[in-house]
Amino acid sequence: MPVDAAYAHLSDNLLIATILAYAAAMLLYAVEYAFGDRGRVAAAAALTTPDAARVLVGAGGPAIPPSTGDTPTGGTATDGAVRPRTAAFGRMAIFLTVVGWIMHLGCLTSRGLAVGRAPWGNMYEFAVAATLVAVTGYLVLLSRQPVRYLGAFVMLPVVLLLGLGGTVLYVPAAPLLPALQSYWLWIHVSMITLACGIMLVGFATSVLYLLRARYERRTAVGRPVHFPTTLGVRLPAADRLERLTFRVIAFGFPILTFAVIAGAIWAEAAWGRYWGWDPKETWAFITWVIYAAYLHARSTAGWRGRGAIGIALLGWAAMMFNLFGVNLLISGFHSYSGLS
């Protein structure tokens, strides 16, 4: 299976353009975040409380006016109180994110066309695919919920991962090793990529929760806040971030489970056993167990707040170690990074 050099070249150029667009978007998100008021989006976020339901249901009877003054930040936000200039930065950031996303998709697609297979056969390709899932997830979330405040925090790891991918992890377009020539590559790796991208969003919301919770704790007792806790000013209530984290992880966990099972099915066909405690398998197991512990802690044992979020962060750390540590430090069956 020969490599199509034109597509491979196009893919490499699109990667650079994507990184530039995302980096610019990240800066603009940060500008809006740092200098803007909470903005329309965040003010709208304050409305998505159980009160909103009451308003809608009450349509037949007397409508209860939406409560706008009780935002947790101390009531600076009101409907439509947006400084137009900073909001323009935010809109520009979204525009650049969408442009970057299109080029990102093009980068992955042309890589796939160049090599005539699923474009996630080595670590570089995996990084490109997983970040595409993360950005897609963010954009989908953005179309349904006012989560523009997440922008800078999602873009930062995305730009870092893509940058690492384009430099340290980069390998030229090439066909696959025989062990990877299976339709399970499509299923297993795309599911892992999906799970990884979703958990990245869960990681971002976990970090934001910690910032916001610290901010709320300190302001509640009137203590001064310093950077980076000051970032918490413009975030939604900690409680809301905590629930968002749970929903994201609860959404990603079955996908992660299925991805691991698909991997076991593939391992049976390729290596003659469905589970053999290869380092990659071991860390997938560790990651899975930690996220399972998070779900138990959160939904059954009734832990809220920092304890559960700490477990979620640990899960993400294990996932990242599985991606980078195991591929680069430990040799095993999954030595497909293409790096030597």
């Binding site: 066909p175 929903r247 959404f251 003659g272 290869d278 512990a293 779900l295 832990w303």
Partner: protein, 548 residues
């Protein structure tokens, strides 16, 4: 259980699916009686509590870490040996802690067995509890619906009975479980509940996890696998003696393996043009499942194992067997392929040939086969690529006593280094007096001082084939599928309740005769329940024409 945002009260407590003793901060009720039985009961309660389960989950995750950091016997014995050589003091200590067999270690088994006991204990109370919940009718309507997290009110023109009947059937159609009750003051109430599948899925997931453990255990007890290295033209039959490595399950004796024979006709490795990257491995085999069975052909590839009734055959690796012909001074001819083991990705392979029947002295050869000889390497040890473009054989010829009769086991891939060091096996001399260490190509031969000739005829390829059975594999797959299903149900479905109270509106004339009050409560993910409650109330309202 502090789950609900506000005002959940009694109804909220009853909606909780957590076993009573498990709520945070709840102590075992009543005075604790003394005695062994009480202690036992208390330890059991402790073990099956969620906090213990969490702790065990964490322990399990931490316990798995050394298995990925330290070399493991099950994965690579050579690396374990290397580790022993590099850390002569540390390694035996780690070994005593079973850290080179982490996943078979007693402490690892201890953790997961405790976890499963805890799980089974938890299930044993929750399965009947859920069974009872399935049979129970939705609970009474709370007096103050407006104190629930979700609530709404509207009036409608129809009679109480008509409205109630219409909303009742509407809820039924939407697959709510509905209970109609009449209250003392003439009001009618509907209690509806939905989302039992959440707990069903939850229990299903955990039960499947237990089944999975049993399936894995079944594979460990009754399964077996064996690997064998087969050169083109050769074959093997299913008996322990024909295997290079045999890993039986704990209850497999190896004497009664099913009759099964495999022959390797041809092995081909394809490469990406212009590179040494492999693109395909392809073994053409013939197999017979049973003595009376005819041979059947099969194309064995990576990712495409042969699956016959119960037995599975996999292609795991490949390499080269140089064909070497040795003629000893008495005229005896020894000829055949010998499998050499690849040492690196270029398939430069090492191996040995042992001829205990050669006369006057036993002859041993060891050396390196290079599929693509590096012309710059005069020792002939390096290969440029794994493709057999320019094969070469770099060999040393030894004479003396191979020591095969001594009873000590030897590797077939190397000569006994101890005997070479002890000069019981000496490097032979060439006809011109130089030591017998040569690099030869296909068809070339070398003549020793004593008249022995060694000829490198060419090569054949070999394939490493794994044969095995795992009776737990299909049950494991089935339980894994049930696990995913259960997980999806338990994380996506919400358990929720809605109540309606229909009371005749006494007040102020006009057509609005019935007052409808509604309340809603979700045990999980209360935030997402809001919009659904709105829809339920809207459809209830919409179903009554003229309302609104």
């Amino acid at each position: 259980m502090t789950v609900l945002d506000r005002g959940a009260g009694d109804a909220g407590a009853r909606l909780s699916t957590v076993p009573p003793g498990d709520a945070p901060g709840s102590a075992p009720p009543g005075p604790v009686p003394a005695g062994p039985l009480a202690l036992l009961r208390r330890s059991w309660r402790q073990l099956t509590s969620m906090r213990t389960a969490l702790l065990l989950l964490f322990l399990l995750a931490v316990a798995a870490v050394p298995g990925s950091v330290l070399p493991q016997r099950g994965l690579n014995q050579i690396k374990v040996d290397d580790y022993f050589a590099q850390h002569p003091h540390l390694a035996p200590v780690l070994d005593r802690l079973s850290l080179f067999d982490t996943f078979a270690a007693p402490w690892f088994a201890g953790i997961y067995l405790l976890l499963f006991v805890s799980l089974i204990g938890c299930l044993s109370s929750r399965v009947p509890q859920h069974g009872r919940a399935l049979l129970r009718r939705p609970p009474d309507t709370p007096r103050h619906l407006d104190r629930l997290p979700q609530s709404a009110e509207f009036r409608t023109d129809a009679e109480v009975e008509t409205v109630a009947a219409s909303i009742h059937s509407g809820l039924r159609r939407a697959r709510w479980r509905v209970e109609r009750r009449a209250e003392a003051d003439g009001a009618v109430t509907l209690s509806a509940e939905k989302g039992y599948l959440r707990e069903t899925g939850n229990l299903l997931f955990h039960l499947a996890l237990v089944v999975l453990l049993f399936a894995i255990a079944m594979g460990g007890l009754f399964g077996w696998k064996a690997t064998v290295l087969v050169t083109e033209g050769d074959g093997f039959c299913d008996s322990v003696s024909s295997y290079d490595a045999f890993e039986p399950g704990r209850l497999v004796d190896g004497q009664h393996l099913p009759p099964f024979c495999v022959r390797l006709d041809d092995f081909t490795a394809g490469y990406v043009p212009g590179t040494s990257q492999p693109a395909s491995f392809h073994a053409r085999i013939r197999y017979a499942a049973g003595a009376a069975e005819p041979d059947r052909p099969y194309d064995l590839r990576v990712n495409s194992p042969l699956r016959t009734a119960g037995t599975r055959v996999y292609l795991l690796g490949h390499g080269f067997s140089p064909v070497i012909t040795v003629t000893d001074p008495t005229g005896q001819v020894f000829s055949g392929p010998s499998a050499f083991l690849p040492a690196d990705a270029t398939l430069a392979s090492t191996g040995a040939v042992k001829l205990p029947d050669a006369r006057p002295k036993q002859i041993g050869l060891d050396g390196v086969f290079t599929p693509d000889r590096d012309p710059a390497d005069r020792l002939g040890l390096r290969s440029l690529s794994p493709r057999p473009l320019d094969p070469g054989l770099s060999i040393r010829v030894y004479e003396g006593d191979l020591g095969l009769d001594s009873g000590a086991p030897q590797s077939v891939y190397s000569l006994d280094a101890g005997r070479i060091a002890a000069k019981r096996l000496r490097l032979a001399a060439l006809a011109d007096g130089r030591p017998a260490r040569v690099v030869i190509g296909p068809g070339q031969s070398v003549r020793l001082a004593d008249g022995t000739t060694v000829r490198f005829d060419g090569y054949r390829e070999w394939a490493r084939i794994q044969v095995g059975r795992d009776p737990g594999q299909v049950p494991a797959l089935g339980s894994a599928a049930v696990m995913v299903l259960g997980l999806l149900l338990s994380l996506r479905v919400r358990r929720r309740r809605v109540w309606f109270r229909f009371s005749p509106a006494e007040s102020a004339g006009g057509p609005r005769r019935t007052l409808v009050a509604a309340g809603g409560l979700a045990r999980d993910d209360a935030e997402a329940f809001g919009p659904e409650f709105v829809r339920v109330v809207q459809s209830a309202q919409g179903g009554r024409s003229g309302a609104g």
